[in-house]
């Protein structure tokens, strides 16, 4: 979970709820749209947004990996069937949709600090019990990662070097050596967290206020407006093809 600078770009500054709507809407929409050129345009639109949010560089490795996979799938089918058109027709809509969902997800994940996301869920009246638990998970992943590192060091100190084959050959080494010490630590940690939470007036069935309330601003309204118009246009074009293809 990296550091985020919330003032990095306009997309970063958008309310997480705005971006959440974008991700859900795009994911649902791309399953309905059938025209491959419209699908590719949506993909291109997302690439523009990624560029605009200055995150394209950071996600390029992941996207590149997907594109290689896509190219491999198409060429393999083309070689087997000896029909490149068939392979393209067969895979393109699926791969294009997959690509859109990945781009939308990455756009959200790379421009939204997890804690801010959790806070936006709280403001969406998701039950406190869920937002609190999500908050704990996000907060303690780095802590437990450090604990895991220290456990690996302890194993090394005892002369136990786990190899990749041990995961299959000796799974007991993995759960004895790693999971048990982590669980022991987790039990103590979670008791202390519960005590700390209630000692600071937390109640799992009560809603909370917040120091800095997230607000839907002008930019959000503008962004959502453009999004709705674009989506409407895409639906219209999907049902009333103006292009010959």
């Amino acid at each position: 979970m990296g550091e985020f600078d919330s003032d990095y770009s306009l997309i970063h500054r958008l309310d997480p709820r705005t971006k959440l709507i974008l991700v859900v809407a795009i994911t649902l929409m791309c399953t309905i749209i059938n025209n491959i050129f419209l699908l590719l345009s949506i993909g291109a639109g997302l690439i523009i947004l990624l560029t605009f949010s200055k995150t394209l560089k950071r996600v390029s490795a992941l996207l590149g990996f997907f594109l290689i996979f896509a190219a491999a799938a198409i060429s393999l089918t083309a070689i087997i069937t000896r029909d490149i058109n068939y392979a393209l027709e067969y895979f393109s809509p699926f791969l294009a949709r997959f690509f859109i969902i990945i781009c939308a997800g990455l756009l959200f994940a790379f421009t939204t600090p997890p804690q801010r996301f959790a806070q936006s869920l709280q403001q969406m009246r998701i039950p406190t019990s869920i937002t609190f638990t999500l908050g704990i998970t996000l907060r303690y992943i780095p802590t437990l990662a450090r604990e895991a590192e220290s456990i690996f060091q302890s194993l090394k100190l005892r002369g136990v070097h786990l190899s990749k084959w041990d995961y299959i050959r000796r799974p007991s080494m993995i759960y004895r050596g790693i999971i048990i010490p982590l669980i022991i630590r987790s039990i103590k940690l979670s008791d202390e967290i519960a005590i700390a939470a209630e000692s600071r007036a937390f109640k799992s069935n009560k809603s909370r206020s917040s120091l800095k309330k997230l607000t839907i601003g002008k930019n959000d309204v503008l962004f959502l407006g453009i999004m709705i118009i674009t989506m409407g246009l895409v639906f219209y074009l999907d049902n009333n093809p103006v292009f010959p293809f």
């Binding site: 100190l157 202390e192 519960a194 700390a196 209630e198 007036a201």
Partner: protein, 493 residues
């Protein structure tokens, strides 16, 4: 208002699935504005009592309770832990497990947010609370980038933002280095002057003594002494109840003559350097450790002690310099006992723990029997390591290294959270370990413990050795004042 801050009447408490009472017939009245120091050896019931004060026991962790606890205008029977939060704040040993967010201001705002306060009011309280712990300028910082001492101050602020009149602190300085602990006590002194009622629980007495108005000593679930703080200067009282000396250096200590034969070191370190990506480094370390020698390594947090230990133990690879071992051929060279033994115990019995991974060390299995015997673990060999006490876990872990016949045994802060009684046991065990002709290195802030165990002490500062010599020379008052960054606060009174 002359009501007491806290009034406990006929309190008895029993943990779930336990036969014996952990607290027996406690009666106690604490006045408003009083600073009470609650002490006693491990397992005496002091933490249990603390956790009863705001209802954590039995409301969160279970158990059977009997009697009454009145906290200002509320009692723990009719009010939940969260309802009591504005009367009583609770801070404990490990700052890491008290946090819910990653940003300082969000953390301090967590309590007020739970009460549903308006954001202006929250903001004002956050400012005041941060100011009270001298952390206002760190308001926007990430808590992961704070030192342990700063984290603990944020934990205090996170309670102060709810404006409780009473603060209960359970060993708040155990994880802090001397400068960090000193700073925290400076803040406690200010809070005391602001008429907060403070209940501090610890078996280390040095910092608490000047602030305390009253000392309570517990033993076997009972309060057995309720007296003036000066009672802690009485060695007999301290030793009877396992309490540490308020003077960090033992006034009767007589340095033994340094008798180590400086020949054939088990380890010869020359020009060793290691740097992390973030710029922190240890540089140009030259050091020899001789068979049967116990060396102490001191310095404030961030001086490079743990990094040095990790390089010696092979966890980190040295980037420059050499480590020459006397017996280069043997496969196993260093054992290292971490501060928290929970990370290092994997198996389902003490015997299996010693046997863990031994198939790769030829002949080592033959050592298990003798080591179990000499480390006094024979009776415990079938027990589950996680069912043992802290001291027993530590002994099991040391034994798990001893069967591999290490050249060097490193112990990182072995006395954290340890009372006087258990510290003395460890001193005795280390004296016996010396006879095994290996080197022992102890990383510690605990000067009294180092006095009693080491023959030589090394002071590390900013990644370099700045002082080195026989224990008697280094651990003296004038050296404390000049050489130890931030250790001045430990001066003998």
């Amino acid at each position: 208002m002359t009501n007491p801050a806290l009034q406990i009447t006929n309190l008895n408490f029993k943990y779930p699935h336990q036969e014996n009472f952990a607290l027996k017939n406690i009666n106690l009245t604490i006045k408003r504005g009083e600073f009470v120091f609650l002490t006693g050896k491990s397992g005496c019931g002091k933490s249990t009592l603390a956790r009863c004060l705001n209802g954590t026991l039995p409301q969160i962790l279970g158990g059977e309770i009997d009697g009454k606890i009145q906290v200002l205008d509320k009692n723990t029977r009719e009010n939940s832990v969260s309802d009591l939060a504005q009367n009583l704040g609770f801070i404990f040993q490990n700052p890491e497990s008290q946090f819910f967010t990653v940003k300082v201001e969000d953390e301090v705002a967590f309590g007020p947010e739970n009460l549903g306060w308006e954001s202006n009011k929250i903001s004002k309280n956050v400012d005041e609370a941060l100011n009270a712990v001298d952390m206002l300028e760190n308001r926007d910082m990430n808590v992961f980038n704070l030192s342990e001492g700063q984290k603990q101050r944020i934990a205090v602020a996170a309670n102060l933002s709810l404006q409780p009149e009473i603060l209960v602190m359970d060993e708040p300085t155990s994880n802090l280095d001397p400068p960090g602990a000193y700073k925290l006590f400076e803040i406690l002194k200010r809070l005391k002057n602001q008429k907060k009622t403070i209940i501090l629980i610890d078996h280390r007495t040095h910092h608490a003594l000047p602030l305390a108005d009253r000392v309570l000593i517990m033993d076997k679930g009972k309060i057995i002494k309720d007296d003036e703080p000066e009672i802690l200067y009485d060695a007999h009282t301290r030793e009877s109840y396992g309490i540490r000396n308020p003077r960090v250096l033992d006034e009767n200590y007589q340095a033994p003559e340094y008798q180590i034969v400086k020949q054939n070191p088990v380890l010869d370190i020359s020009r060793l350097s290691y740097s992390y990506d973030n710029g922190f480094s240890i540089q140009d370390i030259n050091l020899q450790i001789y068979p049967g020698e116990v060396v102490g390594l001191v310095g404030s947090n961030g001086s490079g002690k743990t990094t040095l230990a990790k390089v010696l133990s092979g966890i980190l690879k040295p980037q420059k310099g050499t480590l020459n071992w006397e017996r280069e051929d043997s496969t196993f060279k260093v054992g290292m006992v971490f501060q928290n033994p929970d990370h290092q115990l994997f198996m389902d019995s003490v015997y299996n723990e010693l046997n863990f991974g031994l198939e790769e060390v030829p002949g080592a299995q033959l050592n298990i029997g003798p080591v179990l015997k000499s480390m006094n673990l024979e009776k415990l060999q079938k027990r589950h390591p996680h069912s043992l006490s802290g001291g027993e876990k530590q002994r099991t872990l040391i034994s798990a290294f001893l069967v591999r016949e290490p050249h060097l045994l490193i112990m990182d802060e072995p006395t954290t959270g340890m009372d006087y009684y258990h510290m003395q046991r460890l001193v005795y065990e280390i004296k016996r370990l010396k006879k095994r002709n290996m080197g022992i290195m102890i990383i510690s802030h605990d000067l009294e413990f180092l006095q009693q165990t080491t023959q030589r002490v090394i002071i590390l500062s900013q990644g370099k050795i700045i002082q080195e010599g026989p224990t008697g020379d280094i651990l003296s008052q004038d050296k404390l004042d000049t050489c130890f960054e931030g250790y001045q606060s430990l001066s003998i009174k």
